[in-house]
């Protein structure tokens, strides 16, 4: 594991959010170089070579995603920067946008040049009012310098960037939910195929990339795909921003390579469990990822390693729970969230998630019935893979994780009609 600062290299530089300061540190040089010296396809090749995988949740290779967009298109192509950051536990994109917004703008310029896009939207969650203002100022500054608009860096390339605020809906973090929302509609995910790369925003081919993903692009183009690809484990290259919250002494954001283990992240970086208590469970990749038990934390925090142990790297949000936590209560809180955020299009999600929430609630309230755990597991199975978008899975996967990894705690709640952990 290694602590390499790529994305957060300049995060503590005073006034890094202002264009002159950003440029003093070499900012916009990568974009200038790319626009003057590269063919668009060569940029895509470089990003492919880097092995960069999407930092939003799915971990899909960014270069490959770009290459799905047809080169020639009758309709305009679009880039949507996903700054919706709604996955519970996640607060890393907020840091990038607040402290180093020009890095994102530069990433957007290079990405749009590579794919032949002339309009990019930054879809930022509505609650991030301050961050939206900072981004808008950064975009305005970039226009003034001639890095956005017409004839960028003296080249025959034009690009407009529009900062677009959402209005409070978790589902708009899903690619097609985001696109629907951007079009001024309810954020109800679309049936796929066609995928956004073919039919996306305003019917045009569209790429949706997370903030952190795009912030990697200037660095990759500055130092090369090979350089980036050599950092961290194979197929899980580069660094990522792990956002650690919950019962740790030093919650916060840690930029690390993906071979860091959950144990190292919690104990070496986040300062261990608060109050010297024992660890009980860790959510490794946002609330949608199945938890790890305390005896499972020697796993690497890479996309592949977490998938291998039946969880997922997701958005890199690590939620740490100590021994005083009542797992059925956390499962309930999680289900309440997903029930609230379900858009209601698909029956398994719309009906199944609130149903599980009601069962979890009666278990927590000491009114659980024998067979409730198996009933919830059965509902999970009937949601998984049976919905248009991953929200159904996002509700069922962690629930199944809590139920199977802490089954005895649920059963005990049902038998004893109370919480043993919290009454201790």
């Amino acid at each position: 594991m290694a602590e390499i600062k790529i994305l957060t290299k300049n995060i503590d530089v005073p006034d890094q959010d202002r264009i002159d300061v950003y440029m003093c540190g070499g900012g916009y040089e990568a974009a200038r170089k790319v626009l003057n010296e590269y063919m668009p396809e060569a940029v895509i090749e470089e990003v492919k070579k880097s092995g960069l995988r999407g930092r939003g949740g799915a971990g899909f290779p960014a270069g490959m995603k770009w290459s799905f967009v047809p080169k020639e298109s009758k309709l305009p192509k679009y880039l949507c920067c996903n700054a919706d950051e709604g996955e519970p536990g996640t607060f890393k994109d907020r840091l990038l946008m607040e402290k180093d917004p020009h890095l994102l703008v530069e990433g957007i310029i290079i990405t749009c040049f590579a794919i032949g896009i002339h309009t990019a939207f930054i879809y930022i969650r509505g609650e991030y009012v301050k961050e939206a203002e900072i981004l808008q100022r950064a975009v305005d500054e970039a226009y003034q310098k001639g890095f956005l608009g017409n004839v960028i860096f003296g080249k025959n390339f034009n690009l407009d960037v529009i900062v677009h605020r959402g209005a409070g809906a978790y589902i708009c973090g899903e690619e097609t939910g985001l696109i629907e929302s951007l079009e001024g509609k309810r954020g109800e995910p679309r049936l796929k195929p066609p995928f956004p790369a073919i039919v996306g925003a305003f019917q045009g081919p569209t790429v949706v990339n997370n903030v952190e993903t795009l912030c990697n692009i200037p660095h990759i183009m500055e130092k090369g795909g090979e350089w980036y690809g050599a950092i961290g484990p194979e197929r899980n290259t580069g660094t990522r921003l792990f956002a650690v919250s919950g019962h740790v002494n030093r919650p916060g954001i840690f930029e690390l390579t993906l071979d860091v283990t959950a144990r190292e992240l919690i104990y070496d970086y986040a300062g261990g469990i608060s109050g010297g208590r024992k660890l009980k469970a860790v959510v490794p990749g946002g609330s949608s990822s199945p938890c790890l038990r305390a005896d499972e934390i020697d796993v690497q925090m890479s996309f592949d390693a977490l998938m291998k142990v039946g969880s997922m790297a997701g958005s890199g949000a690590v939620i740490v729970m100590d021994e005083t936590v009542c797992i059925p209560k956390i499962a309930l809180r999680s289900l309440e969230f997903y029930a609230h955020e379900s858009c209601g299009q698909c029956t398994p999600c719309r009906e199944g998630v609130p149903w599980m929430m009601k069962i979890a609630r009666r278990i927590v309230n000491g009114e659980g019935e024998k067979g409730d755990v198996d009933l919830m597991l059965e509902i999970c199975e009937n949601i998984l893979g049976r919905t248009l978008c991953p929200l159904g899975d996002a509700a069922a996967m962690p629930t199944k994780g809590y139920l199977t990894k802490f089954r005895e705690e649920f059963e005990e709640h049902i038998r004893m009609k109370k919480c043993k952990v919290q009454s201790a």
Binding site: A167, F337, C343
Partner: protein
Amino acid sequence: MTIVTEKINLTPELKKEAEKLMLRYPDKTAALIPVLHLVQGKFGFVSVELEEQVAELMGLSRTRVHGVLTFYTMFNRKPVGKYLVQVCTNISCTLNGAEETLKKVKQKLGIGVGETTTDNKFTLMTVECLGSCGTAPVMQINDDYYENLTEQKIDEIFDKLN
């Protein structure tokens, strides 16, 4: 943000601003959410009358506007207090004492969740993850985040707003 209960209308200036927003998009109807933000920013909420006027201005059906308005949690369809207080109760905040935070805020304001103080100053709501989990527990008051909340901090915050 002011609370107006009599009939309210989109002002000419507001309409002009809305039309400017519509020009930003390949399809003007994509400006619906920004326009609703604009209207709410002016009136504090989006009433049925305003809904109709937005629909007319943007050439949309009332059902489309209503559908969008009701889909997103940030839009208020009824007046809220001068300060909209939203306490996050998602997992990370819960682990760090959101239940106590909420209890304290309720006590401080003397209202329950979903209620507004009689002087129309505060409305209290709970909210899902605000993306500030490293500094939990967190609440948002209007556009501002208040992080690492403690009982003392909550007292100070509200005493200042009073």
